[in-house]
């Protein structure tokens, strides 16, 4: 598995964090390490780049194919052909975020990690991904290159291959810079038995790390909302972590889900509703970074509904919960992992939270978009 060096990764992260949009890429030394942008005879993407003609060919030849090089993609056929054995998981997701560059990552990394993580939550080791771009006319090559570099970094770190894809360009105003769709295939771990039907009363609810990092990192850079913070997105691939967990605990890992859009509250509500069991969590036990908590207070957002990326909820049998925490806390994605609650016979269909001060309340579904409060 090709792993990008730590230094290169850090430098890449730094570049994504950079606000110096006007500095030519050639002067951003960090890019030289992994992915120098080739010379193109165009600075922006135009309708022609999605036409299937010469411009598309040039863009793909000297851009996408080079960066994401692997033996399957190199076939440059209409689709990828490969052998698969074992139970297989298949997942797809679209990425339409704004801003596309945010502290800790960009839409490219997110698009790879998102599908890698969805497959991981099925108990699968992700193998092959498709990657499709819908680009708004006028998007700069420099920005596109940054996105592509994000894709590459995430692909290398998670050890998956991009094997097929598509590029379309839409007229100015008919998109928002760039949308990405990825889908992926993975082989399910032979010991994995992940299904909500397997959840029963007494099971423990584990959260793998700090809540609400990604959503708040994005919010901190939204137009008109810029506030000074060191909060970075938690976007990361979870596949290696999940494989470790299933290797050790097998079928005792009953359910996995990454609480992306809708946050932790939505995941638990879906489960409570499907299983007709109670999901009781303790606010005091939910790991959160102080800055994120402060930002949520300031913005009037409930962290339970804020999006996460490199985070997962695991429902595990009570007898292995301590072991799960021990394994997770040794992993890069689980340093702050905690047991945050348990599944109960009481409160069927409901998510309850014990507040810090010892009161109890229902945690409902999010209605529509979480909107900032007046005061």
């Amino acid at each position: 598995m090709p792993l990008i060096t730590n230094t290169a990764q850090i430098l890449l992260k730094k570049t994504f964090l950079s606000d110096e949009k006007n500095i030519p890429l050639s002067e951003k030394s960090s890019f030289q390490l992994s992915c120098p942008m080739p010379k193109f005879d165009f600075d922006v993407i135009t309708m022609g780049h999605g036409s299937g003609g010469l411009l598309t060919h040039r863009l793909l030849q000297s851009g996408v194919f080079d960066v994401l090089k692997n033996e399957l993609l190199d076939q440059q056929h209409d689709g990828a052909s490969f052998e698969l054995t074992g139970r297989t998981a298949f997942s797809a997701d679209s990425y339409v975020i704004s801003p596309i560059f945010f502290p800790g990552g960009n839409i490219g990394e997110l698009a790879v990690n998102g599908t890698v993580n969805d497959l991981s939550m099925c108990g699968a080791a992700p193998k092959y991904l498709s990657l499709s771009f819908i680009i708004e006319e006028g998007f700069t090559m420099e920005a596109f290159w940054q996105v592509l570099t994000g894709v590459k970094a995430a692909v290398q770190k998670s050890g998956v291959m991009i094997v097929t894809g598509d590029t379309k360009v839409v007229e100015k105003g008919k998109g928002d810079q760039i949308f990405i769709n990825t889908s992926g295939i993975g082989i399910i771990h032979p010991k994995a038995q992940i299904h909500h039907n397997r959840i029963s009363a007494g099971d423990q609810i584990i959260l793998s790390g700090n809540l609400a990092q990604h959503g708040i990192a994005i919010m901190s850079k939204r137009q008109g909302l810029e506030f000074e913070t060191d909060i970075v997105s938690d976007t990361n691939n979870l596949n290696h972590t999940i494989q470790l967990l299933i290797d050790a605990l097998g079928e005792n890992v009953k359910f996995l889900r990454d609480p992306t859009r809708g946050g932790l509250a939505s995941v638990l509500n879906e489960l409570a509703e499907m299983r007709k069991l109670g999901f009781v969590i303790d606010q005091q036990l939910i790991p959160m970074n102080d800055q994120v908590e402060g930002a949520c207070e300031m913005l009037g957002l409930d962290p339970l509904y804020v999006a996460n990326e490199g985070l997962f909820v695991a429902i595990v049998a009570k007898e292995v919960a301590a072991k799960a925490i021990e394994i997770l806390q040794k992993d890069e994605n689980g340093i702050n992992a905690r047991i945050i609650g348990e599944v109960t016979e009481t409160h069927p269909g409901k998510v309850m939270m014990k507040s810090r001060i010892g009161g109890h309340r229902v945690v409902g579904y999010l209605t529509g978009e979480q909107l900032p409060r007046i005061c």
């Binding site: 008109g224 908590e293 009481t346 409901k350 014990k354 010892g358 309340r361 409902g364 529509g368 005061c375």
Partner: protein, 369 residues
Amino acid sequence: MKFLSEYRDPELVKEYVEELHRITTKPWTLMEICGGQTHSLVKNGILDMLPDKITMVHGPGCPVCVTSVSVIDEAVYLAEQPNVILCSFGDMLRVPGSKKSLLEAKAEGADIRILYSPLEAVELAKQNPGKEVVFFAVGFETTAPANALSVVQAAHQKVNNYSILASHVLVPPAMEAILSDKQNTIDAFLAAGHVCTIMGMEEYYPVAEKYQIPIVVTGFEPVDLLQGIVMAVRQLEKGEYKVENQYARSVQREGNRMAQETIHKVFEVSDRVWRGIGSIPQSGYEVNDAYRNYNARLKFTIDIPFAEENKDCISGDIMKGLKKPKQCPNFGTRCKPEHPLGAPMVSSEGACAAYYQYSSNTIEENIPF
């Protein structure tokens, strides 16, 4: 999280709850004015900790909830004008107007932006000199200084394509309206800490005196609220009616003078229609004559009929403290956050939404941990 975690200390909460149980001998009804306080009471599960003799009723202090249907219609009308960018605080977007909400107008193509500060709207106006930028200036005395400041700054910087649709409401007249209602049952008020941070406490002394009612200026964290309730109940048990300040870390008796000056520079006191309550004299702010060029109501001809409230929504009774959300026949059935009949089900600070989101009939069951 200094200044927050201390006020969420479970031990302190326990002490105040015990104190409250010790001192309460008679039934008392207290109204917390501010929607933020309602939200915190329900979200933290405080209502279940109070002695049975204490009843909390939820006041009118949710700006989203009291903004009348007609004003929402005005905002929708402006947003739908070609060349207008309407800017608003986030939680106004879902409030139903007589025909549609701002969120629906946005989906139909109106240029509506969610902002955190009206000063951003002035910036937006500078960046879009060919457009008219209107800020939907909603809120109590809390948001008035920033909204006023945006007008002062726009005038100072000669930004002529900026205006505000003012729908400000004031707390003391609403308290008086509630107290003068024949059905009123309120024994004491927890006044809104952040409104008093701006306006100070002076306005409340005559109210406490006239209606012989204790008023405790109170904050928003669990310890704040419980301390405020204890202070009010102590007064009630002794037969006193004073204005006290629980939220002294933020509120000074004279308030924030600079903020008040900014308000008075731009706004004048006017009558205002409150959703569910009706017109209350001298209960709002409107842009004054000196700044009339920044008053969206004068800049545009807003030609819409006056809209009636939805009769199925009992928000008036709820905001006057006459009814609890769960006493509404439509609560949780025809009226839910995803299809609200009235504003209290919309805002996270609305009493109905707070009850819907956070409270459960099964709460008394045995809970682990």
